[in-house]
Symmetry: C2
Subunit: 447 residues, 2 copies
């Protein structure tokens, strides 16, 4: 054992471990009996009154602005402010979210974000006085989602991709013929790499099959040609809300305060480019041509009823080092999400479900990823995006990438791939993330 | 050979390869006989009249602004504009450089940047009418560098670290006992990984020894403790000036237009953290705690007399694929720089030279790095920073990192490390990059 005892770090830095992680509580906004006056939003929707995620939208010729999804509509926050329907912390939150800064929507103080969601819930209810007043003014702030353009909810200063999907990691080891398919470091730290922030695109934008350098099978000289092994990766996205100063790590007990919310990520991967280039510094151009994310920031508050334990470590796995361990996080740090993958061969055909997975296959919680990322003093920034790593399950029908499928194949031109996530619990209204979707376009300039 | 012929890419995309790369020409601004009226700036300085690099500075209580280095002074561009001493493209350049945008200084159009350097050269000359007028007004725009705070010259949206130092790459293979120390992909593409942009710091800022998870020798359970193997890495930095749209690669013949200039990078590396974490996705927290860069953007124009050929490939190495090959780049695409590494044990002791190296040990030119990076359609952005990779030479006295030194060791607390770069050619006035310096502070909270 090293003479520097591991716990010394936390103690010597003045961390008060008596202050344990606190996660959002279930309150009246989660009541399954709530009804809204917004047309159709009480029915089958991913965005019921219990969700209310933040995003950014624009109408033709107008500037983008912060908004909240409800059913098939969006609430425009600037217009809502103009109606004088908000006050106190909720008003402060809406004002902050409407600032032109790229991090305005993700960077809200947690207390403000909570207040805004509660106030908007109240305004959209059919049974409140505030709701009646808002309904009368609704032409000024409510607009059909289909009439809007959605945008990335924040400028993304840095995009970090983890590898916390344990079955995906193990499948990789098995493909390489390893006896123990997980590398020695895997169970001790959330493996990750810096990925490319500039090419993160919103759901719906086309993905052009990338050109790149790769080694045809059996050859010794690489070619520069369009990728033939274009693959998807199903990942949970984590939006960093509040950052930290360089040199100041974040106690895992405080990590929940730094998470603004969640989204879905399709971390497109050109396997031929990736396998040729990634020795020994990891993935680069095999990933950086495009990453697709879902448009809405699903808040920790909306997910309060849907939290559950992190990965059951059991006897097979070592205990996490103290800087990665928190009892509250272990008990309820993982958003429990049902994930699905759908494909349609072309824009006119109905999507077909090809796989189902679940966030319980993530070996590390979002808080553990965040605590690890900042543990060396690295300064996280508002709007930083984490990918969880590919969430493949433990049966053949739950692959998070074609590489892990029982019959591997790759994306064809014209195919459209959709990722979906739903939080479901008996006694609560289910919420969804919204589609993370993109269609593959042929490589530019290829014959 | 793959049926898709490699050249097809360039032809089918409409690239006109008759337009070859054009690099800045040697002109009157490089005349070694030029003399300036600025005190001491004709003597032994890294910033003579022939250099004139851009940067960003501030005085106490004032906003940061764009500036140009001359001898021991800086020219403040906003104040120079206020004096009415600039016109035409030079004035347009100074106005653009003074915009509040984080990419203002790097994002100048090449023709504007050239005009500004030429105009400032003329204004600082002792033998021109413009110079006489400027000298009289100089109290308004010239200020001692020692009185200023320097800042990062641009916001860095993305930081990409290449591995183009061939001897460093080969040493790594030798340490791992490889028969051919270079991996099969090394000679075919500029290996790189996305690194952390947020923790890039200006020369002079302290570097705190990072905490992290690592595996003590002979142990099976990692510890979380301050790094004991803190190392430096000598790299050439490349500032991206103009970016490209997502999906639009950059022909290597046009790459010179996208490079705003050069700096020095010390890519600090915690070898114990790095070696434990980097299987299989590459470096992460072993690098992201801090990266130090030199303050000035040394322009392609200032380096015009100092260009030379890229790495001599000879018979040992395959020819680069067409998308990485340009005859002008091969002949003169590499800035020829003498590099040195100095250490002082504490702030009061004189720095001691410990190593000398040279950019001729880079296997790939800056244009090749840029063309490769954008070859999959990845969108580069103004202010993106590339690191060349560690520039170790081919003899024991030319290590670019302690790992490659004949007697490896690591950084001690309190030690200060300095990187320097000089361009030297007979018949021309030498120019320098300015120090890339930082001192190691003890790990925060460690006993």
């Amino acid at each position: 054992m090293d003479p520097i005892r591991q716990n010394d770090f936390l103690l010597s830095r003045g961390f008060n471990r008596l202050i344990r992680m606190s996660l959002p509580k279930i309150d009246e906004t989660h009541d399954p009996h709530l009804r809204t006056w917004v047309d159709g939003a009480d029915g089958h929707t991913e965005f019921p009154l219990q969700n209310l995620p933040l995003g950014r939208m624009s109408l033709a010729g107008e500037e983008t602005q912060a908004c909240i999804a409800i059913g098939d509509f969006v609430v425009r926050l600037k217009n809502l402010l103009d109606c004088g329907l908000l006050s106190g912390d909720a008003e402060a939150a809406a004002i902050a979210a409407c600032r032109p800064s790229g991090s305005a929507v993700v960077g809200l103080r947690p207390a403000h974000r909570v207040a805004l969601r509660r106030a908007v819930s109240n305004l959209l209810r059919v049974d409140t006085a505030a709701g009646q007043r808002a309904r009368q003014l609704s032409p000024q702030f409510l607009i059909e989602a289909a009439a809007c353009d959605l945008h990335l909810p924040a400028r993304i200063p840095n995009f970090t991709d983890f590898n916390a999907g344990i079955h995906h990691a193990a499948n990789g080891g098995r493909r390489r013929g390893l006896k123990d398919p997980l590398l020695p470091n895997y169970r001790h730290l959330p493996i990750a790499y810096h990925s490319r922030a500039s090419s993160v695109q919103l759901s719906g934008k086309p993905v052009f099959r990338p050109w790149g350098q790769w080694l045809p099978e059996g050859e010794e000289i690489p070619v520069f040609a369009p990728s033939r092994r274009l693959d998807f990766e199903l990942e949970l996205g984590i939006w960093v809300g509040r950052g930290n100063a360089l040199g100041e790590p974040i106690d895992i007990a405080n990590c929940a305060d730094h998470i603004a919310g969640y989204c879905l990520i399709n971390d497109w991967s050109a396997r031929d480019i990736q396998s040729w280039e990634s020795q020994r510094l990891g993935p680069f151009l095999g990933k950086s041509f495009c990453t697709t994310i879902s448009p809405w920031i699903i808040s920790p508050e909306a997910l309060a009823p849907f939290r559950g334990p992190g990965f059951e470590r059991g006897q097979d796995h070592p205990r996490a080092l103290p800087y990665l361990e928190d009892p509250v996080d272990a008990r309820e740090g993982m958003p429990q999400l049902q994930l699905s993958v759908l494909v349609s061969a072309n824009p006119d055909s109905d999507p077909v479900l090809i796989s189902r997975s679940h966030t319980r296959h993530l070996f590390w919680t979002p808080a553990q990823m965040l605590a690890h990322h900042a543990s060396n003093g690295c300064n996280l920034q508002a709007g930083d995006l984490f990918g969880s790593g590919t969430i493949t399950g433990d049966d053949p029908q739950s692959f998070g990438t074609f590489l892990d499928a029982p019959t591997p194949r790759f994306m064809c031109d014209g195919e459209q791939l959709i990722l979906r996530a739903h939080a479901v619990r008996e006694g609560y209204v289910s919420i969804g993330f919204g589609d993370c979707m993109a269609r593959i376009e042929p490589a530019k300039g290829a014959k």
